[in-house]
Amino acid sequence: MRESSYKVLPGPEGYLPPAAATMGVMLPDPGQAIMEGESVDRDTALRAAALKLIEARNPVFFPGPLILWDWKPGVAEKATALKELAEAVGAKMIPMPDYRPKYPMINPAIEVNPNHPNLTIWHNKIDVCLFIGVHCHYANLALKIIRGGTDCYTIAVCAEAGHEEAMISLRDAGLCELQRLRELVIELKGGKNQ
């Protein structure tokens, strides 16, 4: 396994940042998560994500098609848990309903698009965002553009292998992880729901 000194941190990193994977950042093994380019245990990442969310001035969740549609068993329960998590955090939801480029111009107040997510971040002054239910290719695309052009802290809750482009990413994440994240948010807020 290669050692990488590259850190995945809030930007703006520059005109065209490299893909983190090509800088030696590796996705976490099952049971692990990734934080700012390094593998950590899942609970550490969950706690760090909870802290980032509650400390944020304007946290926003970006739910994608895989959680916006009730397309297979278990998704509706995850969507409900996500809504409860957003309520606990006090986060807004701005959906990524599809991946088509929006022309002549996106309305950044109501949606986010993988090809220019920075517009939505800038328009809404988002300092922490959470991706969930976005197909992995499009999530990585958006996450890299965000750290290239904005100072937003990115969190990805992924049901597959995770995202090295996010500052914190869970992998194989489902209903349990969302519920645990909500518990941690409430605990860190001193036991108070929003």
């Binding site: 290669r2 065209l16 490299p18 893909a19 983190a20 994977a21 090509t22 590796m26 996705l27 098609p65 895989l66 916006l68 549609w69 009730d70 397309w71 297979k72 599809d98 991946y99 088509r100 480029p101 022309y103 993988p114 090809n115 220019h116 517009l119 197909h135 992995c136 290719h137 499009y138 990585n140 695309l141 890299k144 553009i145 290239g148 597959e160 292998a161 995770g162 090295e164």
Partner: protein, 380 residues
């Protein structure tokens, strides 16, 4: 369909009992595809590949492959294969030489569209005057298409790499095409012992719903949406999205390393790790090098072998580490341009250590004496 048991890929590749058969490389393709749980195979003939897809047609008739047809030409085949893969089925095809060149436009789009297609390339010359003879020059053109490239030394490699290729290509975090390359005629048309897997076992099915891009399922949400048209507006945002898209394909190739290390047991094999001189090569040039190395070692020369199994991703760090402690690297190749030597020079600290040859092409064989002469020259 023939009744076969779905088994864990690690069991199939590493634990299942094997039986030895004396078969050609084309027949090794047939045997691998029999066990690969392929949904669709699309064929178009070109020497020296024709026999392999003909044999895949035979196993379609026997019920090992769900769908099989002949395309109009190579461009049509590679485009049809892309459509099948976008629709969420496991798909296989093969080509070689001028067939590769005729279809060329499609290969980078396979990678860009994150399609886990597996294609066998039976390499041959592409130059004029027309040759059908062995040559690996087409690999030079494919290096930057985004396709993962494995290079088989022999029929056993070809058989095993094809099965591994499906497993690596379909990982969510990889999900780009894999080309398995074999030197035409030297591998495809010669018989060799191949340790084959049980015929009643096959790989698990492909699950397109774990794809990093939406599968084109027009019946079901959330994927009842066409894939987005590529961003083709003339503005900074669309350029930046394109650039990030291409970077994500490179990232996918990087992520394949851990899976390839698992299945291949490393991107390279090394024989005589403490050697002073290394032959670093791939494909059938590895077999020719083995003979030269045996003779050289009898003469007391401490020469070792590095067999490169994965060309993309390239085992740069592995080769750099070996090169740093050797006094010379010899790179025999079956092509005119020496693409492998260029690759090696690009990753090591002292490119002057590299002997860019011997090279033969146009169908010539490579006598081990050519390699031996270079070993003796460096040893002096």
């Amino acid at each position: 369909m023939i009744d076969q048991k779905i088994v864990d890929p690690d069991y199939l590749l590493f634990e299942a009992p094997r039986t030895s058969e004396y078969i050609t490389g084309s027949e090794a393709v047939r045997e691998a595809i029999k066990r690969a749980n392929v949904d669709m195979a699309i064929a178009y003939p070109i020497t020296p590949q024709s026999e392999s897809m003909h044999l895949v047609g035979d196993i379609y008739a026997q019920g090992y492959v769900k769908e099989y047809f002949r395309g109009e030409n190579e461009f049509a085949v590679m485009s049809s294969v892309a459509g099948a893969s976008m629709a969420g089925v496991r798909v296989f095809t093969a080509t070689g030489g001028p067939g590769t060149m005729r279809a060329f436009e499609v290969f980078p789009t396979w990678a860009g569209a994150r399609l886990p297609i597996v294609c066998a390339f039976m390499t041959r010359g592409i130059n004029s005057p027309l040759t059908i003879q062995p040559d690996t020059i087409e690999m030079a053109y494919l290096l930057e298409t985004g396709i993962l490239m494995l290079h088989a030394e022999n029929s056993q490699d070809l058989h095993d790499m094809l099965l591994m290729a499906f497993m690596v290509a379909e990982k969510t975090d990889v999900h780009i095409p894999v080309g398995v390359f074999a030197d035409g005629f030297f591998v495809t048309h010669t018989r060799d012992k191949v340790n084959m897997l049980p015929e009643d076992c096959k790989l698990p099915s492909y699950d397109p719903y774990t794809s990093p891009v939406p599968v084109m399922d027009m019946e079901n949400v959330p994927v009842r949406q066409m894939r987005d048209p590529f961003v083709m507006k003339s503005n900074f945002i669309s350029y930046a999205a394109h650039a990030s898209w291409q970077q994500e394909i490179d990232a996918a190739a990087e992520r394949s390393r851990k899976y390839l290390n698992h299945y291949l047991g490393g991107l390279i094999d090394v024989e005589h790790e403490d050697a002073d001189i290394f032959i670093v090569t791939s494909g059938t040039a590895v077999s020719q090098s083995r003979e030269a190395i045996a003779t050289a070692r009898e003469e007391g020369i401490n020469v070792g072998l590095v067999k490169i199994k994965s060309i993309r991703p390239f085992p740069g760090e592995e080769i750099r580490a070996l090169a740093s402690r050797s006094k010379g690297i010899i790179v025999p190749e079956f092509n005119r341009v020496g693409w492998l030597a260029k690759e090696i020079c690009s990753v090591i600290d002292e490119p002057r250590k590299v002997v860019r040859g011997p090279r033969v092409f146009g169908g010539m064989t490579m006598p081990p004496e050519l390699i031996l002469a270079e070993i003796r020259r460096i040893n002096q």
